[in-house]
Symmetry: C2
Subunit: 261 residues, 2 copies
DNA sequence: CCGCACAGTTGATTCAGATCAAGGATAACA
DNA sequence: TGTTATCCTTGATCTGAATCAACTGTGCGG
């Protein structure tokens, strides 16, 4: 597990739970000031650099905790090296598997990450006599389960373009919500993932991801001022392509899958 | 929601929780006799026929509960009708989404099913003052999440033959465990699913599923005395084909994907 | 300033699985 | 005992995405 590293890159710096940026969204959000004090005493922060492993698949996992800053990917890897990202975690999301000694997947920092961690045993003790903590963990786990099942539809049934559109839509929504701007055309997404990480999440190859970015760009749905920055030019088209249909009314329009067509 | 139907087809018949066949595996398995009495008073049974809807996607869901007998599939359907099965539930598994008013997916009985149900509101009340019930629900939800993520690997990265092999392996393991027989060659699986239901679960078409059954049969990995009964003839080969590698040692052997090869 | 590594793009080709299209088997039923 | 309906299988063809293979930045270290 990682060393403490470039703190300077992290936006927030705090020590006490009451000053925590994820205080009212994380697993501790239902905890009273009194209960929070116990968590405060037990927690410790750790920072990770992009690519660094936070939890190793199949390894004994003795820490659990919340993402405070950055983006974390959960992977499962097959014997022959094929890899699938099974979860993408953002600040306030919970990492680790309480009530299990071995991690069923590995967690990798995609960006500089700060984690708020607990020793697993200690966390389970606290959980034991903190119904509000356990309730929140149950809620978050149920939400994760719903998200995982949504992703199963994407992986099992969607085409490459639908996969990418769905993914961008999620990021766009997240960005809009966080920045408190309307969920509409013009949103600029700063991708925290390489093409490879996107491919691993979408169940595609890196080449296909790149090509689908090209398709979206050529059709004016997005623009790419930089490979890592995506500007949504036509949100409705993106919805349409994602096969989601946000509100029912939407006029399909001619769409050009390749340059020549 | 369904009517009470052909009870005669169900193996078990009981009224009180203490006689329940899933008593020590279901969500209530940590509950004390005292706590069980409260559940006993609140529960009600309902039976469903194959194809019948237990919970409708997007509909208000006011019942939650456990599968007592039979097999239930959870589906998500896209606007254009593409469908993905996102969960397969067996006796003792929990159905429904506490802490949410709308069901994110629909639950369909694949076989004759008996459910042990609670009104959602009532269940949430009981949950409130039953830490052992909530603890068990958290555990089960965490396990479901792990299973969903395993399935994401299957959907995103595995080939058709690997998908079917993985699926049969899971059913074989289940069958062996339930019937208390060794997990070895000769296990006979009675498929509770049509080819179509299998296809929806594996993210394939019905034709591809059928063809992959053919491949397994031609290679002597399984035999099909009946389309709905699969006998495992070579468990090691099945592991190999699933891309799982149970214990590391396994000698790859020539494998014939098509009839002529 | 060069060389190298890394991320991304683009093109040509292949192939696994979807789609389209018949058939065959079994069971329910008139 | 045909009649219809389901479920399953099998064959021919098509196609979307993987694979194989360059090639283009862009940044970094010497």
């Amino acid at each position: 597990m990682g060393e403490t590293t470039n703190l300077a890159e992290l936006r927030f710096s705090h020590d006490r739970c009451v000053d925590c940026p994820i205080r009212n969204r994380a697993v501790c959000s239902y905890s009273s000031p009194r209960q929070l004090a116990e968590l405060d005493a037990a927690k410790f922060y750790r920072d990770y650099e992009p690519g660094q492993e936070i939890i190793g698949e199949g390894e004994p996992c003795d820490a659990v905790g919340s993402v405070v800053e950055g983006v974390v990917a959960l992977h499962r890897t097959m014997e022959d090296g094929r890899r699938q990202t099974v979860g993408l975690l953002f600040p306030s999301d919970f990492v680790g598997r309480p009530l299990r000694t071995v991690a069923p997947y590995d967690a990798i920092a995609l960006t500089p990450v700060r984690m708020c961690l607990f020793h697993r045993k200690r966390f389970e003790e606290i959980l034991q006599h903190n119904p509000s903590l356990e309730r929140r963990l149950l809620e978050m786990t149920l939400d994760e389960l719903d998200a995982a099942r949504d992703w199963m539809v994407l992986l099992g049934r969607k085409t490459a373009i639908e996969k990418l559109a769905s993914f961008l839509l999620i990021l766009a929504h997240r960005t809009a919500t966080l920045d408190n701007q309307p969920f509409d055309d013009g949103i600029a997404i700063t991708l925290p993932l390489t093409r490879e990480a996107i491919a691993e999440y979408l169940g595609l190859t890196i080449e296909t991801v790149s090509r689908q970015f090209g398709v979206l760009k050529r059709n004016g749905v997005i623009s790419l001022p930089d490979p890592r920055i995506t500007v949504i030019e036509d949100l409705r088209a993106l919805f349409y392509l994602a096969g989601e249909d946000p509100d029912q009314e939407f006029e399909p329009r001619p769409f050009r899958p390749a340059a020549n067509a």
